[in-house]
């Protein structure tokens, strides 16, 4: 796996979408965990904020109530970790845009392959649904996938 952060254990009853592999549904549980992180990302929509973040990344983050893990994942550009810590891709992608990355580069990072390989996979028709519907397809239980 490409991140040291485990998949969070939801603070709610299990749901039917919990066994979709590699998928972080932005439900209330996830949204609560990631609010400050996502709002930091959102702030990068404004040029003045991008300039301020560029000048002093760590200092800029002080204005947001991030956990230590979230702060580190931002500074490390741990794209998969950011999702596991409550991020949503539309928000975390603001940080990728800031870095000049494409969605395909970020997709490659999150799925643990090289960007060229990801690009070719898309040209070849994308990641197939067969074998990717459920955690069982991946040979994992929800608990195992967390680590």
């Amino acid at each position: 796996m490409t991140t040291k952060y485990p998949r969070a254990i939801p603070d709610r009853a299990p749901r039917d979408y919990d066994d979709i592999p590699g998928t972080y549904v932005m439900d209330g549980d996830h949204s609560r965990r990631g609010y400050a992180l996502n709002m930091f990302c959102m702030s990068l929509n404004q040029e003045a904020n991008r300039d301020a973040f560029r000048a002093d990344e760590s200092g800029y983050l002080d204005a947001y109530a991030l956990t230590d893990d979230q702060r580190e994942a931002v500074l490390q550009r741990d794209w998969l970790g950011l999702l596991r810590l409550g991020g949503n891709i539309y928000y975390t992608f603001k940080l990728a845009i800031f870095d000049g990355l494409s969605m395909q580069q970020v997709g490659a990072s999150m799925s643990g392959i090289e960007a060229e390989e990801f690009q070719q996979m898309m040209i070849d028709g994308g990641r197939p649904i067969e074998g990717n519907r459920t955690l069982a397809d991946h040979g994992a239980t929800p608990a195992e996938e967390r680590y």
Binding site: T23, N45, Q104, M121
Partner: protein, 279 residues
């Protein structure tokens, strides 16, 4: 009275907008997609809509987690392109249609759809890419627009059925609007794609083609498909397809399929377009 002249479902992939903005339509990667949508552009030129009602979603541009309306309708005279992190897209401002938008807002709320009314908002690629898909690169967009912004990022998005029923309520409202506007309705987003996580890059062309069939012939059946089926089968961002149900609801029960296109990939997305007329 105003009339609905047809409906278009289309993906709203940002890379398509960038390809148009940077004149890449003839490059090998893009040419096949743009060849496939040429008949769509021809149909729109002929149809000459005065106004487009565009169901789309905002991608952390005008709205954020600070405020998450399920259905928001833009009633302003102008909607500027949003800065999504790159600086605003260099496309014309979008002209609104305040009289129709207010009529829709009032009619829909009295029809028990609790719309959020928006006087000031920017519009991101979710709305401007479909305009580029239809109109290419005009100096000024050739029609007015009523933005209908749907939350599909924060779970749960409205159900497919709620979207379908909203479309029907939009139809009732348009049919009662005292004007002679020719109204085109768009449902945008999708088709199958997953941007996030270890399953990024997921495409399910079989799901997409079945969706295109069912939205024509069995919209009520398609509107009953639960969220988890979209999330699992069409990818986490494939849930955007519920917005196509708004478009379909605004058309007659029986429709004629004028054109469809399906192309994989455009960036990370399975791209679909369909043009429907009332039969």
């Amino acid at each position: 009275m105003a009339q609905i002249i047809g409906g278009i479902g289309t993906s709203h992939v940002p890379a398509v907008g960038a390809a148009i903005d940077h004149n890449k339509q003839n490059e090998p990667y893009w040419a096949p997609y743009f060849e496939k949508i040429a008949p769509v552009r021809a149909w729109v030129r002929e149809a000459k809509p005065d106004v487009c009602i565009i169901a789309y979603n905002d991608h952390a541009s005008a709205f954020s987690l600070a405020l998450i309306p399920t259905f928001a309708i833009g009633v302003a005279a102008t909607f500027p392109p949003a800065d999504e992190g790159y600086g605003p897209r260099q496309v014309p401002d979008v002209a609104g249609h305040p009289p129709l938008a207010w009529h829709l807002a009032e009619s829909l709320i009295l029809d028990e759809f609790d719309m959020t009314i928006v006087n000031e908002m920017s519009v991101d690629h979710g709305l401007t890419v479909p305009l580029s898909v239809m109109f290419d690169q005009p100096k000024k967009w050739p029609c007015k627009v009523v933005p209908l912004c749907v939350n599909v990022i924060q779970y749960p998005a409205p159900t497919g059925n709620r979207c379908y029923q909203l479309g029907k309520a939009i139809r009732r409202a348009v049919d009662e609007f005292p004007g002679d506007e020719r109204v085109l309705i768009l449902g945008t987003g999708g088709m199958s794609h997953q941007l996030q996580g270890e399953r990024a890059g997921l495409v399910n062309a079989d799901f997409d083609l079945a969706f295109l069939d069912r939205i024509v012939t069995d919209p009520a059946g398609q509107s009953a498909v639960p969220h988890t089926d979209y999330l699992r089968e069409a990818g986490s961002e494939g849930i955007e397809l519920v917005m196509w149900m708004i478009m379909r609801g605004a058309l007659d029960e029986q429709v004629r399929e004028v054109h469809r296109a399906h192309h994989v990939p455009t960036s990370n997305t399975s791209n679909g377009v369909i043009v429907l007329e009332n039969a």
